[in-house]
Amino acid sequence: MRQRSLIAVTAALAAGALTLTACGSRDSGGKGSDSKGGTTVVIGVDAPLTGDLTAIGLGIRNSVDLAVKQANKLKIVDGVTFKMQALDDQAQPSSGQQNASKLVSNADVYGVVGPLNSSVAQSMQKVFDDAKLVEVSPANTNPTLTQGNDWQKSKVRGYKSYFRTATTDAIQGPFAAQYVYNKAKKKKVFVIDDKKTYGAGLASTFSEEFKKLGGTIVGTEHINPDTKDYSAVATKVKNSGADIVYYGGEYPQAGPLSKQIKAAGSKVPLVGGDAVYDPTYIKLAGPASNGDLVTSVGAPLDQLPSAKEFLANYKAGGYSEEYGAYGGYAYDSAWSIIQAVKKVVDDNSGKLPSDARAKITAAVQNVSFDGVTGKVSFDEYGDTTNKQLTVYSVTNGAWKTVESGTYNGG
C-alpha cells in the first residue's frame, strides 16, 4: 500500500515536471551566436529575472543580449565572438554573491553587466575585485558603492573593478529635492523609505537637500517591503498635512503605497526615484496616480538622437519584454566592456593576453564613446561622468517627460 502511494506521488511529480518543461516558454537568451573558431568572450549578466523586479531585470538582460549581437554582427573585435551568460539574482544579495562566484569561475567571462540592486552589488563587489573581473552596473545608484562609506566627507574608492553607467543618489536625491521645492513649490514633505540600501540612501540625500532649501519634513516612515498593507502609514500621511510624499524604494511597493495614500483621503503626489520609473507602477497605483512624479537617470531615450538606433534594433530584435528604465544603460555597460576587450585585443596583436581580466578592467576605466544614453566614460571612482537626470510625471496613465536637467551641486 505504501509503495503504491509512493508510485502515485512519483508519477504525479514526473507528470508535473514534464508539463513544466513543455510549458517553459522563457527563452534562456544568449544562444544567438555560434563561435566558428576564434576566441569566445562571455559577458555575464546578473539581474533579477524572476520575482517583483522581473520587468526591469529582463530589460537589462535583453539589452545586453542586443549589445552582444550587435558586436558580433559588426565584427567589432576581429576573431572574437561575444556571448552572454545571464544569471538570476532574485534581487537577493546572497544569490548575487553566488552568481558572482559562478561567473568568476567561468574562465571565458571577461566582464559582467549588473546588478540592478545596490544591496546586491555590495555582496558582489569583493568577489569580482579579487578576481580582477570588471563589473559595470547599469542601475546601482548608492554612492557608497564607488565612493566608500564615508563618501560625504572623504571619498575612497573601494573596488577598482566596479563601474556604473547610472548616476548616484548623491545626485538624484538632491535633484529631486530641488525640483520639488523650486519648481513644484511644495514645502511640506513626508519621507518614506523601504530600509534597503537604495531606498534609504535616496531618502536621506533627498531629505538633506530639502531641509537645506528651507522645506519642512513633517514625518518619516520606514515600510516593510514584504507586506502590502500600508493603511496605517497612509493615515499618518493624511494627518501630517504633507503636501507631497517622497518615497525611497522600488515600484512594487511604491504603487500600492501611492494608491493607499490617495485612498486614505490625502490627494498629494508621490515622488520617487528611478526604481519607481516603470510602467508597472502606474498599473499598481491605479488612476489615482495621475500627477505622481519620478526622477530618473539620464535623458529620455526617445529624445536622444544617439538612442534611435538602439530603439530600432531593440524593436527589430523581437524581445517580448520592454527595455525598461535601464535598458539603455545596460547596453552602454555592455558596450564599454566590448570596447575594452577591443582595446586589449588590439594592443596584444589580435589575441587575448593571459591576464586579460585585469587588462580589460584597466581599459574600462579609460573608455570613452558616444553611447545610447549620451557620452559614456568613467571618473576616478568608477562613476559615470554623465550627470543628466529627468523628471517624469504620470499623465493619463503613462509616464510623460516633464524636464531634463544636469545636476551641478547644491
Partner: protein, 310 residues
C-alpha cells in the same frame, strides 16, 4: 489623537483578513495536529481562482455585482480542490508518519504551489491587477472606508457565524468535534474520520478563498507570493487566539491586526521610541505581544477548550 478611529478600522480590516485565513490553520491543527504551512498558498490560489473567473470566464465589462458572487464561487472551488488534493496526495500518506514529515511536506507544497502559479498562470510573473468595486469611499465621522473593504467587513462575520453554526449544530460538525477530541474513539463510534479531515481542509480552504478575494478587492492586485507573509501572520493569529479554537482564530487575527496598526501609528510618538515606531517595526511589536500573551496564557487568548475545538 483624531486618527485613532481610522487606525482602529485599519487594524480591524487587516485583522479580519488574518482571521479568515487563521481559521484554516486552526481547524486543521485541531483535528490532525498538523500545521499546514501551505495554507497561505491555498489563500493565494483562491485569489487567482477568482481572478480567473473574472478575467477569462466572464465577458469583459461584467458588473461587479454579478461578477463578485461568481468570482467567490470560482475562488472557493479552486482553493478547495487544491486543499483536498493536497490532503489526499501529500498529507494522507503521511498520516501516521512522525510529526516532522508532514510539516516539511507542507513547506515543500507551499513552495511548489507558488512556483506553479508563477510558471503557469498567465502574466503572474509580476503582480496582476484585481477587479475593483466602483463607488465610495464612505465617510463615517472622520473614518474613511473604501468600497473594497465593505466586502471584508461583511464577509468576515458572516463566515464566522456560518462556521459556528456548522460546527455546533450539524451532524458533520459534531463529527468534527468528536474527531478533534479523540480520533480513534470517534472512528469506533462510526464517524468517518477520513471524510471529516477532508471536510476540515475544504472548509479552511473556502474561508481562505474568501480572504483571498477580500485581499484582491482591498489592495487591487494579487501575486504569487501574496500568501507567504499573510499565511505566517495568520498562523501567528491562530496561535495568539489559541490554536485549535475557531473563535480564537478570528479574535487572534483582529488583535494582531490592531496591534500592528497601532504600533505603526503611535509607538514613534512615545519619547525616545522614534526609531522603533515605524511600519517596519510593527511586526516586531506584534510578536512581542504574542510572546507576552503566551507567557501568561500558554494556551492563547481563548485557550483550547477541547469541546469547542474543531
Amino acid at each position: 489623537m483624531n486618527e485613532l478611529p481610522q487606525q482602529l478600522v485599519n487594524g480591524l480590516l487587516l485583522g479580519s483578513m488574518y482571521g479568515l485565513v487563521a481559521i484554516g490553520y486552526t481547524m486543521v491543527y485541531g483535528i490532525v495536529q498538523l500545521i499546514n504551512f501551505a495554507h497561505g498558498e491555498i489563500f493565494m490560489t483562491g485569489a487567482f481562482g477568482a481572478l480567473t473567473v473574472y478575467a477569462y470566464v466572464l465577458p469583459d465589462g461584467t458588473s461587479m455585482w454579478i461578477a463578485l458572487p461568481l468570482m467567490l464561487i470560482g475562488g472557493i472551488l479552486v482553493a478547495v480542490l487544491v486543499a483536498v488534493g493536497a490532503e489526499r496526495f501529500a498529507y494522507r500518506p503521511l498520516r501516521n508518519a512522525p510529526r516532522l514529515a508532514p510539516l516539511i511536506t507542507a513547506i515543500g507544497l507551499s513552495l511548489a504551489l507558488q512556483q506553479a502559479v508563477w510558471a503557469w498562470y498567465p502574466d503572474a510573473k509580476s503582480a496582476r491587477t484585481f477587479p475593483q468595486i466602483g463607488g465610495g469611499p464612505f465617510h463615517i465621522g472622520n473614518v474613511t472606508i473604501q468600497t473594497g473593504d465593505i466586502f471584508l467587513l461583511i464577509a468576515a462575520p458572516v463566515s464566522m457565524a456560518f462556521l459556528a453554526y456548522f460546527v455546533m449544530r450539524t451532524r458533520t460538525g459534531r463529527g468534527m468535534q468528536a474527531t478533534a477530541q479523540d480520533p480513534d474513539t470517534a472512528k469506533l463510534m462510526g464517524v468517518n474520520t477520513d471524510r471529516i479531515i477532508v471536510i476540515a481542509f475544504a472548509l479552511g480552504a473556502a474561508f481562505a478563498a474568501v480572504g483571498g478575494v477580500a485581499d484582491g478587492l482591498k489592495y487591487g492586485q494579487i501575486d504569487f507570493r501574496m500568501g507567504f507573509i499573510l499565511g505566517l501572520k495568520a498562523f501567528t493569529a491562530a496561535v495568539l487566539g489559541g490554536i485549535g479554537n475557531i473563535y480564537g482564530a478570528m479574535i487572534g487575527g483582529v488583535v494582531l491586526g490592531i496591534a500592528e496598526t497601532l504600533a505603526t501609528a503611535y509607538i514613534a510618538d512615545l519619547p525616545g521610541m522614534e526609531k522603533f515606531g515605524t511600519q517596519s517595526w510593527a511586526d516586531v511589536w506584534a510578536f512581542v505581544l504574542l510572546i507576552l500573551v503566551l507567557l501568561f496564557r500558554p494556551q492563547g487568548l481563548l485557550g483550547e477548550r477541547v469541546a469547542d475545538r474543531a
